[in-house]
Each structure stands twice: as structure tokens, then as C-alpha cells.
Amino acid sequence: MIFDVAIIGAGVVGCAVSYYLSQYELKTALLERENDVAMGASRANTAIIHGGYDPVPGTWMARLNVEGMRRCFELCEELDVECRKTGSYVIALEDEQTETLKILLEQGVANGCEGLEIIDGDACRAREPHLTEDVAAALWVPESGVINPWEFALAMAEVAVRNGVSFMPNTRVCDIAWEGDHYVIGAADTRESFEPLDRDAEPYAAAGSARGTGEQPTTGGERGKTMIRARYLINAAGVESDTIHNMVAPPSFEIVPTRGEYYLLDRTVGPLVKSVIFACPSAAGKGVTFSPTIHDNFLVGPNAEVIDDRDDTAVTRAALDDIARKACRMVPDFNPRTSIRNFAGVRANSTCGDFVIGKAAENFLDLAAIKSPGLTCAPAIARAALDILREDGWLSERKADWRGGRRVVRFKEIPEEERAAFVRDHPLYGRVICRCETITEGEIVASMKREIPPVSIDGVKRRAGTGMGRCQGGFCGPRVLGIIARESGRDPLSIEEDGAGSRVLVSETKKAVRRE
């Protein structure tokens, strides 16, 4: 069987493309090397829906930002994804930075932003009392906000799978060949590289199996390698997008992986900031961002460090100290000891300086080097991709029976007066599994019945929100592991914390032996 379109990479960009493509009569596959969607930059970023004043006019980023921002908020509404229009400030800590604010404001206006305004330091501090007294002025960006980035990607992919797109996790694209009228993708099963369990139980579904109602790929060739055929390829492989590009076309850009590290502060520190706070870029370098999250915690970071290993999401002492120092300059009450987690994400910066969007070969479209503000732009990038496909004549027929929309029950959001009745009718929503975030068993089980079920503890975390809080899954982890095993019929020992190979448990404990 031959797919019409194969999307390589299930980050927010690949997921957005799959969402829009699922509205057309096309056989589409979404290939991802990890065991879930949004395992790359799309899950480790600042989660900001950017206002659009930052990109230099004329770039793809500038063209797509404001449209992307507005579509993000619309999609969140449609797909029940958590987001909040918080607005943001770019703060100038010295008078000369005020000039920069003016430039940013002009750029913003050119890029189509609305409601931008420069206010003085006192006005800014009146609204954000925890900011340093050194704030001289601030650019107010009312349209921007924060989002739950992995849920956003997931929600779009779920709708895509519901409408026939084949999601193929654990499928790492290794080589690509053109065979006259279609591409043949050689894909390895990511799980093959990890040692199997000591016991017989087969921990995974058959290699290369696809989720969703779409067609199954054919297996063949070397062991563990799957041949996937598709007429049209879309490269949305994030930090690996140059590698994928180079499998098909001559090199034209190179990814410069740039890591950013963070502190996540517990909300018990109190309302440190209401809006997103950016430091004004200056000669001294870029400051950090202070941002509320969708779960009322706070993100502080990122720094920017060019690294060799594109998958290296380790955090370092030097970067964390640097971030702490800069954060204190902005919010003197910042205390790294209120941190509940540190993490890092790798930006797909490139030698090109802009997004790389366009045909690189016959039936091969790059959506490559999608750096910040790629999360914000994702829906607009996907629309741009659709325009190109349409021009090439791929989007002739819309699906008549396409089913959009998505609803998620979150116990915390059920109105007080309806909770008793709801729990009576759905008792599993009465059992709290994550005590920090008050997430119930009902929500976890529901997440496992959706179009793309989670396979790991962090997969459940990204869907239901368990383990996000101050105890970081110390309490609910074993319970979530048990629920995954029960609901999916898997051996508990096979269950991962996160990606393939990240098993939590190694064996059973010694058993008592009864002597005759």
C-alpha cells in the first residue's frame, strides 16, 4: 500500500499538518521516532503564544506569527486545550533600552499585531508588583498568552487519527528513496535498540504497528526495518530536519542545535507574575523570560547554548546559575529553592536564520528549522503547507464525514454544584490519584481510551496532568504505572517512565519459597 502523504516528525508542526490534512480525502501517515507525539522541542519550551513583534518583517516568522497566534487560540477553544491570554511585557531596565522597545513596537505594527503600547515603569509595576524597581518602561502586548504545548500537539493529532491518519510511533526514518512515482522510506523500530525484558512477555505491540483506522504499512527487508511508501513527503523533523532534507535533496541549510534550560517554580510561591515578562534584548545579551504556566506554576528561563548533541536535554549547573542571576534582576523575589523541576529543550536554530518552508524536491516539502516562535506559528505553518499542496493539486476533495472537535473532562473544572452528581455517575472521578494537582482515576482512564493512548507514565502526565506538581510523581507514579498496566493489559515491568528504554522497574522482588 502507498500513502498519499507521509509526515516525518510528530511535533507540533507535524501534528498541525496532520490535523488539516485529515480534512481531505488522502491516505496520510504521521511518522515519529519516539513513542508519543510532542517528544521533541514541542514539549520542552516556554509555552508562550508570542505576540508577533519580535520577528524581523519579511521573514516567514514575521508573516506567520500573528496568524499563528490567532489560530492557536481558536484551535484551543475548538479542541479543549488549556490556554490563557495573559498578555506580555517586554521590560526595559535602563533608559537606553526604551529605544529598543520603540523598534519592537514598530516591528509589531508591521507584522500585524494589535493593541501594542509602551507604558512607563510605574504603570508596569502597578500591574506586576513583583518586578524590580529598575523597570524604566515596558512594551505591553495584549494578544499574547500561554498554552499547554504538548496537549495542543496531541489534540490535533488525536483529531487527525480519528479521521483516518495513521500515527506510527517508534518509527525512525533512516533512509528515503524515490521510486519513480513514490518515495520508499526505510524506518527502524526505535525499541529494537533497547535490551528486552528478562522475561518472555512481549512488552510491545507488534513492531511498526500503526494506530488509528488508517491502513497498515508493509513490513519487509531487514529485521526491524519497515518500508513505508508515500507519494508525498513532508519534513517536520525538528532538530533532525536537515538530516531528513539531506536524504532527498542537496544540503541547503544546517541545524545549529541550541539548548535552553529552565526552572519550574511551584505555585505556592504566590502570584509572582500575571503576564509573561520578557527582558528587553540588549548588548549585554538576551535576558530570561518569567512566565506563568497554564497550571499556575512559573517558568523561568531559557538560556541559549549551542550544543553538539541534538538530543542532549541535560541541565547544567552553569546555565541554571546564569538563569537564576538574570531572573533575580527582573523579579528580585525569585528563589531557585522553590523550583520543583528543571528541564531543557533544544531549538532547531539553523544557518538560514528563518524557518525553512518550501519544496526541496519533487513531492518533498520542508517545514524545517522551525525555531521559536514555532509553537505559535505551527497552525499557520501548516496552512502554508496546505497552500503548497493545493497548488500541486493534492487537495481536490474534502472529506464529507470529517469529525472535528474534542472535549476533555477535568475534575478540577467541573462546576462545584455539578460535581456530586458527576462523581455519582462516574465513580472513578471520585478517586484522586495525583494529590498535588487533584487528578482523578477517571481522567487517567479516559486518557487511555482516546485516539492516541499514552504508553508511559509521562504519557499519562502529558494527557491527564498527573505528576506535574510539587511531588513530581513521587506519590502518583506507582499508582499511574499500575493503572497503565491494568488498562492496557501490559506487564508492569515493561512500562516506561517516558521514552522507549526508560523502564521504571527492573524485576520482581524475591519471592518466599515454601519448603515441603
Binding site: P336, R419, P427
Partner: protein, 444 residues
């Protein structure tokens, strides 16, 4: 289940069980214990080693046995027990307090009561709180979580283990993992002394030849999917890693035993005053918090090393809660009979009060406030010192006029071992001023 109780105890660990028992003995008829887990016993259920109960029961028990004794004591007393249920919110009121509970069986409901005992225990500090650089691979557990996997779920969490922090749970797990066939390579402690009980260092590390590195920490964790290697370094007096002292351990597991934090989200949301020193409620001599009718005991109040003291403390909290409820109903009766009655109801809120102020040598005291008039005979004051003392010292209580009210000798003290002293009512009556400072001093 009723809609109204005289007392609701939140948490069915040793603290909750002790408080419910003594409140029943103190004369209350309608008591409810709410427990989140499917069974009573709290953290003791996963502590399958022995060493519990020497002080209280005078014999050595395992954790589950100790819990079993407390649970058995409640049999036939008519105390309502609701397990697999979580208290979500406490709404304090003038006349009565309300609690929101949720459970799969009992549903989502509002229950009212006259008094509440907070007995929610504590949780463990995590990696995020101490910011260990490196990857976020699987194989990093808090010691208590590992203990649950091993002792309750029957699953091993790793084969080659390093332990960060020398808290008791980490020490206990060093032995437990070794007995289960894992190799525990080292225990690494940032401070120049251990935070655990001496008996645990001897029995869990030394007896198994597991080295303890003081003034060391883990400075890097490597491994993409599962932990592969950690770097350990010595630290200077400002806890900064010293270059050139790196040691590398190829391990698949890191256990963290870096502290416990009282679980007070419910208390905070209810407006209970919290002591930043303990992260638990500020309490009076009877373990009553800043909100009348709300009491606290056990690890939610301050972290205990030994469950025996939890039991002791919870029994006084339970008794006090019972006295509070009965006193109120007496007052109500009196009021009902005589409209004009304005007389003193013996309301402890009216009584004069002084605070205990730890100086820089003392980490905290519990209670933080004492009303001498409310002390029957004695009040037990629990505290921890901030640094270890290897030679004999004295604990001195001075009043507002710097007069020594009481002093107690101790041959040896360490932050890892909670201390307590007993202050007699007679001494308290003589206190001048509004506070008593507590300090460690040389023996003069």
C-alpha cells in the same frame, strides 16, 4: 456516614489513628477518619523493617505491625472510617467547620464538624528542589517511592544504586535494596554530618560495607533513557563542588533521601498559620492551630524520626480536640439555660500566652506557643538542634527578662534526632514577659 461529626480526622496514619483513639476515650461519640489510601496505617504500611514501638509499646515491631496495633485498638469503638477518600478542602467556620471530601464510593460531599485533626503526614523533597544537573532519565526515585515499589508493589527499581542524602528512609532503603540483591555503591551526604539516626547508619550502611561520603554531592546524572552514570564530588564549606574530587559511579538508579516536607496544602488553603521553620502549623501546647477547633499532629506538624513520638503527640492532640468539643457543648448548654450568662467559659483563647523562640542554635520547637493556664501538669516540647554536638551541652529556656526558667542536660545531640523536654506547669507560671527563648549552651 453522617453529615455532621464532632470530630473529623484527616489522615489515617499513626497520627490520625492515635488522635481518633484518644478523642474517643476523651468522650466523643461521633468521629470520622478520612484516609486517602485504600487502607489505614499511613506510611507505616511500607516500612516493613523492625525497630518501631520500643518507646510506646516497649517491644520491637515492624511498621505494619505497629499500624496493626493502632488499628486494632479502634475496633468496636464506633469510629467511622472512610478509606479511599480524599479531603479536598477545609472551610473553617465560627459555629462549625466544613470539609469537602471525594471518594469513588462515598461520592463528592460536604461534611460538617466541630473539630478537625490534621494528620496528613509529609511528602519527600524531590530532585527539582535540589536541582541536580544532568539528564532526566528513568531510575531516579525518592527513597520513599522506591520503598513503595519494593515493599508494596513487589518490584525492584534497580540493580546498581547510589543514594543521595543520608536521611533515614535512604538508609533503610540501602539495606533493603542490598537484601534484594542490588548493589548499593555509596551513600552521599552534602552536609558534614548525617541527617539519619545513628542506629540506622550502623545497621544499614556499616553492616553492609556501604561507604558514606560526608560533604559530598552528586554533581551530574548521565543516561538518556535510564540512568547510566553519576558524578560525585566533594563540596567546600559553601557547598560548592571542589574541582579534582570527581568520582564516577556506573549505576542505573539514584535514590534521593533529601528531606521531608509536611503536607500542608489543605491547612494553608484553610488559613492555618504556618511556621516557616517546620513548614507545619503553628500550634499551642495542646496542638491546636491558629484556627480554633483545628488541631494538628504527626508529620504534618513537624517531621518525626520515630513513630512512637507521633503516637504520643497525636494522643494529646486527640484529647485536646475532645476537650474542645465537650467544652463548647457545655457552654452551649449553659448559654441555653441562662441568657444573661456572660461568665468565663474557661475559653483558652482568652488565656495569656507566650511564644517559644528558638535562637540560632535551635532549628524549631513544637509547640510554638504555650498558655500556662491551659497546661494540666506538663507540656512536652519537641525540638531539633541545628548542628551536631558531640560533647555534653545544656538546653536553656529563658524568659523575657533573660531569667533561666529551666535547663536540661544532653550528653550528645544531632539534627537528625528529635529531642524533647518536659516543662512543668509550675515553671510556666513563673514566666515573665511574652516569650521563652530556647538555646543550646555550654554547661556552666
Amino acid at each position: 456516614m453522617r453529615d455532621h461529626y464532632q470530630l473529623i480526622v484527616i489522615g489515617g496514619g499513626p497520627a490520625g489513628l492515635g488522635a481518633a483513639f484518644s478523642a474517643r476515650r476523651g468522650g466523643l461519640d461521633h468521629i470520622l477518619i478520612v484516609e486517602r489510601d485504600v487502607e489505614l496505617g499511613g506510611i507505616l504500611n511500607q516500612c516493613i523493617h523492625n525497630g518501631f514501638g520500643l518507646h510506646y509499646f516497649g517491644e520491637e515491631l515492624t511498621g505494619p505491625e505497629y499500624a496493626g496495633r493502632l488499628i486494632d485498638r479502634l475496633a468496636g469503638l464506633g469510629i467511622d472510617i472512610l478509606c479511599d477518600a480524599m479531603a479536598l478542602e477545609i472551610m473553617p467556620g465560627e459555629q462549625e467547620h466544613s470539609l469537602r471530601l471525594v471518594s469513588a464510593d462515598a461520592g463528592y460531599r460536604l461534611v460538617t464538624c466541630e473539630a478537625v485533626v490534621l494528620a496528613m503526614g509529609c511528602r519527600e523533597r524531590t530532585r527539582g528542589a535540589i536541582q541536580i544537573p544532568g539528564t532526566r532519565a528513568a531510575g531516579i526515585f525518592t527513597a520513599g517511592t522506591a520503598q513503595r515499589y519494593v515493599n508494596i508493589e513487589g518490584c525492584m527499581v534497580g540493580r546498581r544504586v547510589i543514594i543521595l542524602g543520608s536521611g533515614d528512609i535512604g538508609l533503610i532503603m540501602a539495606r533493603r535494596m542490598t537484601l534484594e540483591g542490588a548493589e548499593v555503591l555509596a551513600c552521599v551526604e552534602l552536609l558534614p554530618y548525617s541527617g539519619g539516626l545513628t542506629r540506622n547508619i550502623v545497621q544499614c550502611l556499616q553492616d553492609f560495607n556501604i561507604p558514606l561520603f560526608l560533604s559530598h554531592t552528586i554533581t551530574k546524572i548521565e543516561g538518556k533513557d535510564r540512568v547510566k552514570r553519576v558524578t560525585v564530588q566533594q563540596v567546600d564549606e559553601n557547598f560548592r563542588p571542589i574541582d579534582g574530587t570527581e568520582m564516577y559511579y556506573d549505576v542505573d538508579t539514584v535514590l534521593l533521601s533529601v528531606g521531608l516536607i509536611p503536607e500542608n496544602e489543605l491547612s494553608r488553603a484553610a488559613g492555618v498559620e504556618i511556621d516557616p521553620k517546620t513548614s507545619g502549623p503553628v500550634v499551642y501546647e495542646n496542638r491546636e492551630t491558629s484556627i480554633p477547633g483545628i488541631f494538628a499532629c504527626g508529620n504534618v506538624l513537624h517531621v518525626h524520626d520515630l513513630v512512637d513520638f507521633v503516637t504520643e503527640e497525636s494522643e494529646s492532640a486527640g484529647e485536646a480536640a475532645a476537650a474542645y468539643v465537650l467544652r463548647r457543648s457545655d457552654t452551649d448548654k449553659v448559654r441555653g439555660r441562662d441568657e444573661d450568662h456572660t461568665g468565663k467559659s474557661g475559653d483558652p483563647r482568652q488565656a495569656s500566652c507566650f511564644s517559644l523562640v528558638p535562637d540560632q542554635t535551635i532549628a524549631y520547637t513544637v509547640p510554638q506557643r504555650i498558655r500556662p493556664a491551659c497546661v494540666d501538669n506538663v507540656v512536652r516540647v519537641y525540638f531539633r538542634v541545628k548542628a551536631p554536638y558531640k560533647t555534653p551541652k545544656q538546653i536553656v529556656f529563658r524568659d523575657g527578662e533573660r531569667r533561666i526558667v529551666a535547663s536540661f542536660r544532653r550528653p550528645y545531640m544531632a539534627p537528625g534526632e528529635m529531642e524533647h523536654v518536659v516543662l512543668k506547669r509550675a515553671l510556666l507560671d513563673g514566666v515573665r514577659g511574652d516569650h521563652l527563648t530556647v538555646s543550646v549552651e555550654e554547661i556552666s
